[in-house]
């Protein structure tokens, strides 16, 4: 049988486009009989579609039902689902009526019974060494399904013996994956590429390559035929892979591959980009992949190879859950810290308020004022001004009593506060002979209005200390209370030396008042506004506006 396989001369038809049967033979190759064939009489040959494949010899011996034809025929494989065309040199128009042919499927089923030869090749057609001027017989195009074969028999009409037979096998054919190279073994890839280029038909399996996978994978995870892993598993970093496909092809178009990732096509079917047999997949992201390879001529037969590029730990579901958890935890912590900070700040403002009460007590019981007042009263006694001493002493008692009460209460009637100011200024007059005036708008319900206890005290003390005291009898302090719609304004004015408000080095009294106002303005239903107007040499005017304080 071997002799039948010796020579398979494959020559592309370069004949004119159409023959009489409307067959385009441009992309076909013809199979020529070997030397032993009977070239004197008529014989058959076939033209199979040119697929770019090597027609690799396949031993069909003992498998095909060829009857007694073995000696005279060759088995051709076709990898294409298209028709295969049959010709019969030696049969021409003038002798065609002496011959007939038939087509059998799988050697037993009659596809076409014995039939006359009715078609002939046109002038322009040249098939192999058979000149077209002979116009030899054209039997037609036939095909069957995969893994089946057709036998064409030629005989003299009515004869029992066959003149010639041709067998074509529709060969299922998948590409074979021969090796895989990862970025870890780039050097062996280079070696193999060079060798495969220099010795393209040398079939070998590199033992080093076999060992490579045997070291990495257990025996039951290796394919016993290819010696490759059944499923390649790569670490996250190894995302460049080269597949070497063993397929006897002449053209890169003959082989196509597709790539699926996690069930979705990431590269549709297409021929390789660079080389016929080497598929280089670069910069792959983590995922479950399936490489699919097929011959363009036989697209239904697909070789698939699964491989996995593992996710980096940062890409795993566990890590994502961990990140989400961390975000939640951090979010909660931030919320908790903000909540705590707010609570602390509330607590602090409450404590500040308490602290300010104490501060206002301290400012009110300003030792400087207390002992100076006592000293003034003592001087009245020593001057024998008993009556004045009695009155001032009693007023001093009243002031102390009221300020002690004020330091216990947050709020106090405006009326009481005005009386405290009056008493205070009256006592200060013992020390400095200034004049003062307190005007209260007649429309102001001083008994009803409650204001922060002793709020005016530091401001009026400033008016005395920085304003009126140095001017002696010319010193003047004016205090006015004027109603507006839902609030009122207190004006404290002196004609003293004034100060530069831009310097910011406001005295303790102003700082204290500002802090206290800030604490009081936490209540959104009403507000306090402090205004200072001062110029060196022309006195100071302080305004304290109580907005919405009468609601």
């Amino acid at each position: 049988m071997k002799t039948f396989w010796l020579l398979l001369c494959l020559v592309a038809f370069r004949a004119s486009a159409q023959d009489t049967a409307g067959v385009n033979l441009k992309e076909y190759s013809e199979s020529m009989p070997d030397d032993d064939a009977n070239k004197d009489g008529p014989f058959l040959f076939a033209a199979v579609p040119y697929s770019g494949n090597f027609l690799s010899p396949t031993d069909h011996e003992g498998v095909l039902n060829l009857g007694n034809r073995e000696r005279m025929l060759r088995v051709l494989n076709t990898y294409d689902s298209s028709d295969v065309y049959f010709f019969a040199p030696g049969i021409y128009m003038d002798n065609a009526n002496k011959y007939e042919f038939r087509v059998l499927r799988d050697g037993k089923d009659t596809m076409l019974p014995w039939s006359p030869l009715l078609h002939f090749t046109p002038d322009s057609m040249e098939v192999g060494g058979f000149k077209s001027e002979h116009h030899y017989a054209f039997l037609g195009g036939f095909r069957t399904t995969w893994d089946h074969y057709l036998i064409i028999d030629l005989r003299r009409r009515g004869s029992d013996s066959l003149l010639s037979s041709s067998v074509v096998y529709w060969m299922p054919h998948k590409p074979v994956l021969e090796n895989i190279y990862t970025s870890a073994d780039i050097s062996s890839l280079m070696t193999d590429v060079i060798r495969r280029i220099t010795e393209p038909y040398y079939m070998f399996i590199d033992t080093a390559q076999l060992n490579k996978w045997a070291i990495l994978y257990q025996g039951d995870r290796l394919d016993s035929l290819t010696h490759l892993p059944k499923k390649l598993i790569l670490p996250p970093g190894e995302n460049n892979i080269v597949f070497y496909i063993n397929a006897g092809i002449f053209s890169s178009d003959a082989l196509e591959y597709a790539l699926l990732k996690d069930g979705d096509t990431v590269r549709p079917w297409h021929a390789g980009d660079f080389s016929r047999n080497f598929y280089c997949l670069a910069n792959l992201t983590a995922g479950d992949y399936l490489l699919a390879v097929r011959f363009a001529a036989q697209r239904q037969s697909v070789m698939t190879y699964p491989f996995v590029i593992r996710k980096a730990w940062t890409q795993t579901v566990g890590f994502k859950v961990f990140i989400v958890g961390m975000i939640l935890v951090i979010g909660f912590l931030i919320w908790f810290m903000v909540y705590q900070a707010r609570r602390t700040s509330r607590e602090r403002s409450r404590r500040e308020k308490l602290g300010l009460e104490l501060k206002s007590l301290r400012s009110q019981l300003n030792p400087h004022f207390i002992f100076n007042a006592l000293s003034s009263i003592q001087s009245l006694i020593n001057k024998n001004d008993i009556s004045s001493a009695n009155r001032y002493l009693s007023e001093f008692g009243t002031l102390l009593r009221e300020t002690l009460k004020g330091s216990r209460q947050d709020f106090s009637p405006l009326h009481n506060e005005i009386q405290i100011l009056d008493t205070y200024l009256h006592l200060e007059q013992l020390r400095f002979p200034f004049q003062y005036q307190i005007d209260v708008g007649a429309d102001l319900p001083t008994h009803d209005i409650e204001i922060p206890a002793l709020i005016f005290q530091p401001l009026v003390e400033n008016a005395v200390k920085h304003g009126a005291s140095s001017l002696q009898a010319d010193g003047l302090i004016y205090i006015g209370f004027i109603r507006d719609n839902a609030g009122f304004t207190c004006i404290i004015r002196d004609n003293g030396m004034g100060f530069d408000t831009s310097r910011g080095s406001a005295g303790y009294g102003l700082v204290l008042t500002r802090e206290r106002i800030e604490a009081l303005n936490q209540d959104p239903s009403r507000s306090l506004h402090l205004g200072i107007l001062s110029n060196a040499g022309s006195g100071t005017t302080i305004t304290l506006r109580f907005e919405n304080w009468l609601l």
Partner: protein, 246 residues
């Protein structure tokens, strides 16, 4: 007018004597005492028109002394330095008092008031009221409300609410009666807070037992049992809600 002075400090007795001598020459100090026991003896012996009495003294205090003399007919002016509890009680009954150090003008005013009552020859009603309620439960306490014509003694539970008219207060009673007292509302707030009164607004003082409900209208309004409505200020709302347990 005959006066007895009772105070546990000799200095104070001397001082008050001189002040009376100087500013109230119509008053004759017939005796002084350093405690309640000798004070009682002095009163019984001299039958004075007026007693200046310190509230806080060691042993028997000023109130105890008065209670031990139920049928006497002298007037009393309390004198105290700084006694919150005592002064509250005295103010509650609108009895005269002086605070140390004594202001000459206030001394003169107190003596004038007493001399105006001279001839009635009996201890006035407010003082009786004060002494009574020192032994009574709070529910029975009557607050002295000085109106233009008279001073009324009203049980706190009979007051529904008070409404301010600057330094006057209108007082609405359970029977539908309305009084006008010549004291500002904040003084009544001081006195009545311990009796369950709330200040929902700068112009209003309300007996909480007569609060029927809190209406949402106008940012908060209290509806009282007598059908009257009292506004709640925004800045008081929190305190009122807390006080009402809402």
């Amino acid at each position: 007018m005959k006066a007895v002075l009772i105070d546990d400090e000799q200095n104070n007795l001397d001082n008050l004597s001189r002040l009376l001598e100087t500013y109230c020459p119509e008053v004759t100090v017939v005796d002084t005492a350093l405690n309640a026991v000798t004070g009682r003896k002095a009163i019984l012996m001299h039958q004075p028109d007026l007693v200046f009495l310190d509230i806080q003294m060691p042993g028997e205090n000023g109130f105890d002394l008065l209670k031990s003399l139920p049928d006497s007919d002298f007037d009393v002016v309390f004198v105290t330095a700084y006694d919150h509890y005592g002064i509250q009680a005295v103010k509650f009954s609108a009895v005269d008092y002086l605070l140390k150090p004594i202001h000459p003008d206030e001394l003169i005013s107190a003596v004038r008031k007493v001399s105006g009552r001279q001839g009635h020859r009996r201890r006035h009603e407010q003082l009786e009221n004060l002494l009574q309620q020192l032994n009574q439960s709070k529910e029975e306490h009557r607050i002295a409300l000085p109106t233009l014509k008279e001073t009324r003694l009203i049980r706190t539970r009979d007051i529904i609410r008070l409404e301010s008219s600057n330094n006057y207060s209108h007082i609405y009673l359970t029977g539908g009666e309305k009084l006008t007292a010549s004291r500002p509302i904040h003084e009544y707030e001081d006195l009545l807070t311990d009796y369950g009164f709330l200040r929902p607004h700068q112009s209003h003082l309300v007996n909480r037992v007569y609060i029927k409900s809190l209406l949402r209208e106008d940012g908060g309004t209290l509806l009282l049992e007598d059908g009257s409505r009292v506004p709640v200020s925004r800045n008081k709302k929190g305190a009122i809600l807390e006080a009402l347990g809402l």
